[in-house]
Amino acid sequence: MSKLHIQTVVNGEPSEFLCSADETLLSALRNGLGLTGTKEGCGTGDCGACSVIVDDRLVASCLVLAAEAQGRSITTIEGVASGTTLHPLQKAFLQEAALQCGVCTPGFIVAAKALLDVNPAPKEEEVRYWLAGNLCRCTGYDKIVRAVLDAAAEMRSAQA
């Protein structure tokens, strides 16, 4: 069967790729577009490693068909920094050493960005619930939650 031609916007840039009908968005991002920052963990929507933002909504890209991206706007981990300037979340993750192996980190940062986009001053409990679908198997969650709270505070003071 012929491939589908999908036109979309990825990290602010018009982008197109070919995919099969049953290919996931995760696969299209990694294999079609070479954006390998988005990771595959479980492949069943449980771990959050493949988190991306589609039209302002946080989703697991392993449970989105690539063809569904037609006309949508997608933000991946590659679109979080501004050029060579890291996003406050990325700086905070480094500062707090909120990562070890790093496989979960892109998903955590994209998910945390989606939270701060709608709630610039989350409480710790809100951060923990929001990130309940992002699993980390080595760092533990305290440093990650602290990094998100630090980044939120940093972003608020930059706004003030």
């Binding site: 929507g45 909504r57 697991a60 990130l131 679908g133």
Partner: protein, 288 residues
């Protein structure tokens, strides 16, 4: 191997045409069940019919009489809708328990209904608020009360060629409150071992004038428990009425015995949840 097609019709009529033309096609809303089933090989549709380009399935419309929720509207949007938050906080309780933030960005009540899991978190709350499923098909539109939508685990009243379009909720009477709770072994990201929803209306004297109770994950489908509702009606939601409602919910349950909970445990817990949720619903009824 059979190849799967992807179709994204823009109207209900086109969707019905695509479904009719592709035997074995399956409707794709949020994909949080279907794509997992596809990846594991348990479902092999001839086509994915993505219904998220159809306006009626993707919008919430509120008017003076109630709210119509498109079958494919994501849980996150339902939980943030002002009229739904005001009138059916129990439904918001339910959709906020479906998976993670990522899952709630995609999962829909249409999917929750059509997947027909007895543990579906949005369904008990829809049932107690007398939600009606609006179904389009080759011979026109029909309506089915949500409590009759699932007929067995994984099976619904939908006939081949039909499409669930939306769910309609009539605005509740004054001083009506609802709630939903489930038990899982951890705080987030699990499937209900048992669950309960209650909607009740309080009179000016604080006496319950109407009630509905539904329980989930303790039978092949979610169940309406009329005896539990009857125990609440005429009471001030006092300890005696709550005890009777809990006993009625436990008696109505016919749970399975599996690694996530024994029959006896589920039976007891569903009573506890019914009692707790009735208190939440009563508190909310007082506020409205």
């Amino acid at each position: 191997m059979q190849t799967t097609r992807y179709e994204a019709p823009g109207t209900i009529a086109d969707a019905l045409g695509v479904i009719a033309a592709n035997p074995g096609a399956m409707v794709l809303a949020g994909g949080t069940d279907l794509l997992v089933q596809y990846q594991s090989g348990t479902r092999r549709p001839s086509a994915f019919v993505d219904v998220k380009r159809i306006p009626e399935l993707m919008r919430i419309t509120a008017d003076a009489d109630g709210v119509t929720i498109g079958a494919a509207v994501p849980a996150a949007e339902i939980g943030a809708h002002p009229a739904i938050k005001a009138w059916w906080p129990g439904l918001v309780d339910g959709v906020h328990l479906i998976g993670s933030t990522q899952i709630q960005g995609r999962s829909s009540i249409g999917g929750n209904l059509c997947n027909a899991s007895p543990a579906a978190d949005s369904v008990c709350a829809l049932i107690v608020s007398r939600a009606v499923a609006i179904i389009a098909g080759p011979s026109g539109q029909r309506e089915v009360p949500v409590e009759k939508f699932a007929v067995a685990p994984g099976r619904t009243v939908l006939a081949p060629g039909e499409l669930l379009v939306s769910v309609r909720l009539a605005k509740p009477a004054a001083h009506t409150g609802d709630g939903y709770q489930r038990l899982i072994p951890r705080t987030e990201m699990d499937i209900a071992v048992a669950s309960a929803a209650v909607s009740l209306t309080l009179g000016a004297d604080g006496v319950c004038s109407a009630a509905r109770v539904a329980i989930g994950a303790v039978a092949p489908t979610a169940l309406v428990v009329a005896d539990a509702a009857a125990a609440l009606v005429g009471s001030r939601i006092d300890a005696d009425a709550l005890k009777k409602a809990a006993a009625a919910a436990s008696a109505a349950a016919s749970p399975i015995d599996d690694k996530r909970g024994t029959t006896a445990y589920r039976r007891q817990v569903v009573g506890v949840l019914t009692r707790r949720v009735a208190l939440i619903a009563a508190d909310r009824a007082k506020e409205r």
